[in-house]
Symmetry: C2
Subunit: 258 residues, 2 copies
DNA sequence: TCGTCGGCTTGATCTAAATCACGGCGGCGG
DNA sequence: CCGCCGCCGTGATTTAGATCAAGCCGACGA
């Protein structure tokens, strides 16, 4: 078991390693971070090549199926996690069960940074994912030795804060149509995959989750998507992929309540 | 003029100093930060007594009447500001004029930290205020020389992020009554002033502003306040002060939609 | 192959909050 | 002292989105 987390479903068993001399295993372990898909992103980007073995020693990657919890709101914050692959949803829950998704995390994002003693939100995989665990103590040691790590953390937190304020604007002011259009455009800015020369977005999360992120019921989301499709601004290529056909039109829908 | 900012109303003229030898003025200027009401708060708390003269040299306090802009969304971010006294509202504006207040800033809070080139929001005084300007370059120099400053900045940004996520939960999930109760309780946690043995909150901003913060129209806010008053949970002592009579009741109103 | 189940979509109805309308009150200037 | 103006509160009405209800479709297991 790579590391233990509260789960609602079993983790994927680690792939059994083929026979190899111990010395090679250690070498592979030491260089793990240098070949990681998150190497150039998130916190890891602040590390020098020389520091990678240290990080490799302090971190532990783990594979999870979908619908697994990585951190749990209110629990003692012992570690942070870097997303190596997959997607997670971050959400807060009210006592009566209502949930608000505050964001989605993908490769390079850091999960579980806590102000106080405990996690402020729950993080749950929405697809099978790999996340890399670093204890708070290790992170603190890393920051001490390398001020660039702290700077990087500050930059990442600031970006997240800015995104959170955009979300506040969206939830406080915008209509359903504006929310959905804003979301599609923001998603499109990230995923650069083109389909037939048009940008498209990959949305592996359920419609309920997208609604919980935008402060909308799934029925409302469905209706808005239909309108956008009828208006020729989007095409639903599959259940989890939408092509953005008319960026200007979406931009208009995103601010002029239409 | 202490420093120039875009304003919608004239700043207060600096109080004319009584006659004093130049040498005393310089001494007073050097020790300004050590007697500042924000000394123990915000960024300044991370500075050693020895660094205060340096900060005094790099900063400039300025007095503003209410309804003045300190930073303007979209403008080039040249400096940050520490609130020394008074209260400001921070808001974002949509092209058609809708405004969402993302927070209120009081003594010790830092305004104008920007991720990129330009300010992400507008900051406007809601009461007469004093804010202390530090250029981005000076702040960068201060951080370089004293890693504690960067750490402090990270801590403050993290707290703000956490507050922003709470606000996302409020705007995405909660009913009008829940929003108002949550707001009153959160305000009460800050201002510890007791009236007749009960906590009370000082709300110098207009009802429109409170509404713009909670994602509600002022009419709705008014109706909810009336209900809370009729339920014996609050008393309106004056237009800008509310006494919280029943914290448990408010707590219930804040989460169980009532 | 069939049947079940859960997520998605669409239609009908309901409701919380927005909008519209108006009256009162307090501060400020004349 | 009076009159104006802007903020506040309250009632009447409207509406965007929630809720309720039902059918569709693809995935999965037997």
């Amino acid at each position: 078991m790579p590391f233990s987390v509260a789960t609602t479903a079993p983790t994927v068993a680690p792939v059994p390693m083929p026979e190899a001399p111990v010395i090679e295993k250690i070498a592979a372990e030491k260089s793990r971070c240098s070949t990681c898909s998150a190497r150039a992103k998130g916190l890891c980007a602040a590390l020098t090549p020389e520091q990678l073995p240290e990080l490799a020693a302090a971190s532990r990657p783990g594979d999870l199926l979908s619908a697994n919890l990585v951190v749990n709101e209110g629990e003692k914050a012992e570690a942070v996690f870097t997303v190596v692959s997959g997607m997670l949803k971050l959400y807060k829950t009210l006592p009566d069960g209502r949930q608000q998704i505050t964001g989605f995390a993908t490769v390079g994002d850091v999960i579980g940074l806590a102000v106080g003693e405990s996690y402020a939100y729950t993080a749950e995989t929405v697809t099978a994912s790999t996340v890399c665990r670093v204890s708070r103590a290790s992170l603190a040691r890393l920051m001490e030795r390398n001020p660039a790590v702290q700077g990087r953390l500050l930059a990442m937190t600031s970006v997240e804060l800015s995104a959170a304020q955009d979300q506040i604007l969206l939830l406080g002011c915008k209509t359903a149509a504006e929310r959905v259009s804003s979301f599609l455009l923001a998603s499109g800015r990230r995923s650069k995959r083109l389909v037939d020369g048009k940008p498209s977005v990959f949305l592996p999360m359920s419609k309920v989750d997208i609604g919980a992120y935008l402060g909308l019921r799934p029925e409302t989301l469905s209706r808005v998507l239909r309108k956008l499709e009828d208006a020729g601004q989007i095409t639903r290529l599959s259940n989890d992929r939408i092509r953005l056909d008319d960026l200007d039109g979406l931009e208009a829908s995103a601010t002029v309540s239409a």
